[in-house]
Amino acid sequence: MSAFIDYLLVGIATGCTFALLGTGFVAIHRVTRVVNFAQGAFAVLGGFFAETLLSHGLPHGLAEVLAVVAAGGVGLLCGLVALGWGRVPVMASLVITLGLSIIAEAVTLLIWGGTPISYPGLGGRDLVILGAQLQPQYLLLIVVTVVVLAGLAAWFRWTNLGRALTACASNPYAARLVGIDLNRMGLLAFALGGMLGGLAGVLMTPLIPMTYDGDVQLAINGFAAAICGGLVNPVGALVGGLVLGIGEQMVAGYWQASAETGVALVVLLGLLLWQALRERETMS
């Protein structure tokens, strides 16, 4: 029983990282219609930024926050290149983000080398929940994700800027008519996606050492989570992330660890099929 609780809690925590990545996909896609393949790279860079800052003596907390902000900067740069100030077609932007993720991988390898990195997370004794032992960092990850996603939802709903981003997603033509600059909103969305990806990386690196080429697997998991909300619904991304995270832990725990990524791909395939069928139904 305690093993089950253990898998469940760890699954929820990893699911939270998928949800953060998935929300990044959603934030960018709703505004720009671009599926950002560089989303995983934001997480990798977030982890590496935080490790470098910590190793240069910055205190915990500050280093992590700066790493998230830097990842947001990388997101902004990605947006500038991929969107080309509104002159690039969506499909081309998508391919550009794929290229950027490969470049990011190469640059990470050049700067930091191929050794996995990690740093200590939240200190303190393991928590005991229903007989299962849990490192405090897992709890931190869950709490931060919940707070950030709730804050983000409130920001989208109740601030001018957040409402404007939603307006771009709802009706881009009308958004232009009321004077909203779609190019700027696209860049803002990319910066937001960068920060969400960076946050996922910063929070998970103490638990699972980060490698320069970890971005693809993270992107697949995040994308699968985002697909649950049809790439436009952040709540769907949260639910998808949690289902995926828990599912993977259960498979790894009760069956075999190597099947973990397979689960994500099978879930992703199933969701895509389901969505395609549903779309055909609504069209007929």
């Binding site: 307006a167 709802s170 033509y173 009308a174 958004a175 009321v178 004077g179």
Partner: protein, 220 residues
Amino acid sequence: MLTVRGLVVRYRDATALDGVSLRADRGEKVALIGPNGAGKTTLVNTLSGILRPAAGEVRIEGRLAHVPEGRQVFGTLSVEDNLLLGGWRSHRRDVAPIYALFPALGPLRRRRAGTLSGGEQQMVAIGRALMADPELLAIDELSLGLAPLVVQELADHLARLSAERGMTLLLIEQNARLALDLCDRAYVLETGRITIEGPCRELRHDPAVRHAYLGGAVRA
């Protein structure tokens, strides 16, 4: 208020507007009528800066707000959010006057705009445009897809806005009868050119206008 001189707008090779000139004075209600594909929507999209002219000049003294064809509300957002977004440029946050103008919208303020009836959506679209505090209001196809009674009610609202606030109105309409009844002056746009212009009461009796746009059988 609005001066357009020699406006030319092209889509790749096709010329949509070919030397259009028109004007609207302060507080005036001006109609732009003409058949489908004449370039009416192209003209208003150029006025609001969505399209770039190839030649010619557009001068607007003051702020223009544009109620687009098909209403184009933010369907997934609430009525109130739609109105608030209308104030994006003007930084206006006070939506109460809009509810005073369109009392029907008050009880619907939390509803998603996409779930409203066509007439209610048109009120949202006009309310959203008014939140920009415009001196010039351009309305593209006020009547399209709406019941005659609803159209009449909206037309009354617009006449009142113009009379009480001195707002200049540019009404783009396929329903020529409605446009000529509501407005002071009218232009007829056909295949990218202004073919007829004049005061509405004269155009109502113009044989060409009556033949083409009023079904030829209008009582004087």
